[in-house]
């Protein structure tokens, strides 16, 4: 990420001259108060927003230059997990996870195998036939994570994935994310405002303030920060 700026059409600046490099296989937290630009940053990574200036290279793709009609190619390289899960309500757990593979044209046998694998990994194989509204928040988030990683993406982007969950369930989610990071070598970028989690995980931490990178804590060096 080189000299990235983002100004919204209404003139509000969100990111100013951001330079950042994240290695493959890293686990990185992005923290900051409201309006610090962390959401904008992450939206630019999965190309929901375009940078106004500068260059973002993600897994070899120049995100800023990607045409709207080609965005799906980037989305297949990355997995995204949200605070509100974003599951398709009319599809079962199995179908929700399978959908991410179906759109890439994988054959049905392979889909079945991979979906069951990943649902086992997040501990929800027994709920494969349930609809999302029958699941608890933690379970829904686990389905969302399963969907995000079933493609074996190089990068997993998480936008406050524990925002709606209590601390015990949050730690379960963090365990799953760490397992994915270790087992698949997936790079994990996670936006959060839950400082307890950040302290416990002892990972690299990027602190954003008013659209600028305020501090870059090396792995394990983060102590405390008031947001």
């Amino acid at each position: 990420m080189k000299n990235v700026y983002k100004t919204y059409p209404n003139g509000v600046g969100a990111i100013f001259n951001l330079n950042l490099s994240i290695d493959r296989g890293d686990f990185v937290f992005i923290i900051g108060g409201s309006g610090s630009g962390k959401s904008t940053l992450i939206k630019m990574l999965y190309r929901e927003e375009k940078p106004s200036r500068g260059e973002i290279i993600l897994g070899g793709v120049n995100v800023g230059k990607l045409r709207n009609s080609k965005v799906y190619k980037l989305r297949r390289l990355i997995g995204v997990v949200f605070q509100d899960y974003k599951l398709l309500p009319k599809l079962t757990v199995y179908e929700n996870v399978a959908f991410a593979l179906e759109v890439t044209g994988v054959d049905s046998k392979e889909i079945r195998k991979r979906v069951i694998d990943v649902l086992t990994k997040v501990g929800l194989k027994h709920k494969a036939k349930e609809y999302p509204d029958k699941l608890s928040g933690g379970e829904q988030q686990r389905v969302a994570i399963a969907r995000a990683v079933v493609n074996r993406p190089k990068i997993l982007i998480c936008d406050e994935p524990t925002g709606n969950l209590d601390s015990k369930i949050s730690m379960e989610i963090m365990d799953i994310l760490e397992k994915i990071n270790k087992d698949f070598g997936t790079t994990v970028l996670m936006v959060t405002h839950d400082i307890d989690i950040v302290k416990q995980m002892k990972k690299r931490v990027l602190l954003l303030k008013e659209g600028r990178l305020e501090k870059d804590y090396k792995k394990g060096s983060f102590v405390d920060e008031k947001l």
Binding site: N68, Y72, R75, R76, K86, L87, L88, K90, E102, V103
Partner: protein, 299 residues
């Protein structure tokens, strides 16, 4: 193989969506059904009006009476002229002897009187009954015929035919325009209903984009869904067309109010109309959903 798989999955998704979004599907289907019934009625009416006016216009002919002393050469020339005239569809020649015979057949009193005439003193005239392509130009054609050498007089129901044609023309145009206007209005109505049902699924489309579905992969199931809704919505209108029209035809015995107004025989008319209804349903359903989805796919 991959695109085939995408197609099959889109079909499955479309059917699944129709069933799982049943209340929304039902709203679209009802709207499509009601509007297609209106279109069907308009089509049945406009086709029948057109058929009725066409039938009447078909019966309009020009009769040319030749001079009593017309020579064979003049007759040949006259036939050549008729063949060359672009508005003449076909013509039928009757010698005065044939005319006499026809008249004798019609009435017994006539028959005995006419029997007294032999070929030499037969006062009747050789006639040509001429059918024209375009009834609107019948006046000019009749004038041209009258100018020909050997033609004594021409009759075609001057004045009355022109009036009739004018009235029919207006009726045809009005019913046709009404049918088209109805179709346009209903098409918009259906498109908007489908749009509304898809707008409520905006989030769903957003999620599809998020997990890496290409624009066409998002659009295809919606388009197929629109076609399915259109097809289901056209079932009742088609039943009404087939059963309703056939029953009405039988009830009135194929004529409406007077023997002059003949209804179109149900077969294959109802089948053709049903196909049109089905096609309108499918195309409109497809247009509605693809236009609605396009708003949410960033192109």
């Amino acid at each position: 193989m991959k695109s085939c798989r995408t197609f099959v999955r889109s079909f499955r998704d479309a059917f699944r969506s129709v069933i799982r979004n049943f209340s929304l599907s039902l709203a679209s289907i009802t709207c499509i059904a009601i509007t297609l019934i209106i279109i069907a009625a308009a089509l049945l009416m406009s086709d029948n009006v057109k058929n009725f006016t066409d039938e009447i216009e078909k019966d309009v002919t020009v009769v040319a009476f030749l001079d009593s002393d017309v020579t064979n050469e003049k007759r040949d020339n006259f036939e050549m002229f008729l063949k060359k005239n672009s508005n003449v569809e076909l013509f039928d020649y009757k010698s005065k002897a044939d005319v006499k015979e026809d008249m004798q057949k019609e009435n017994e009193t006539f028959s005995s009187i006419l029997a007294e005439w032999d070929d030499a003193n037969n006062p009747l005239k050789d006639t040509y009954t001429i059918k024209v392509h375009d009834v609107k130009k019948i006046g000019n054609t009749a004038k041209d015929i009258e100018k020909q050498d050997g033609v004594n007089s021409v009759q075609y129901g001057e004045g009355l035919v022109e009036k009739l044609v004018g009235v029919f023309d207006a009726i045809e145009k009005i019913t046709f325009c009404a049918a088209i206007a109805l179709i346009i209005v209903t098409v918009f109505l259906i498109i908007n209903t489908i749009k509304l049902t898809i707008f409520s699924r905006k989030r769903e489309i957003g999620i599809m984009r998020l997990v890496g579905a290409s624009n066409s992969r998002i659009k295809l199931p919606f388009v197929i869904e629109g076609i399915i809704l259109g097809m289901i919505g056209s079932i009742i209108p088609i039943l009404i067309v087939v059963l309703g029209y056939t029953t009405m035809y039988d009830y009135f015995g194929g004529i409406l109010f007077s023997p002059v107004i003949k209804l179109i025989t149900p077969m294959p008319f109802v089948v053709n109309t049903s196909i049109i209804i089905l096609l309108i349903g499918m195309i409109v359903g497809m247009l509605g959903s693809s236009r609605a989805v396009r708003r949410y796919i960033k192109v």
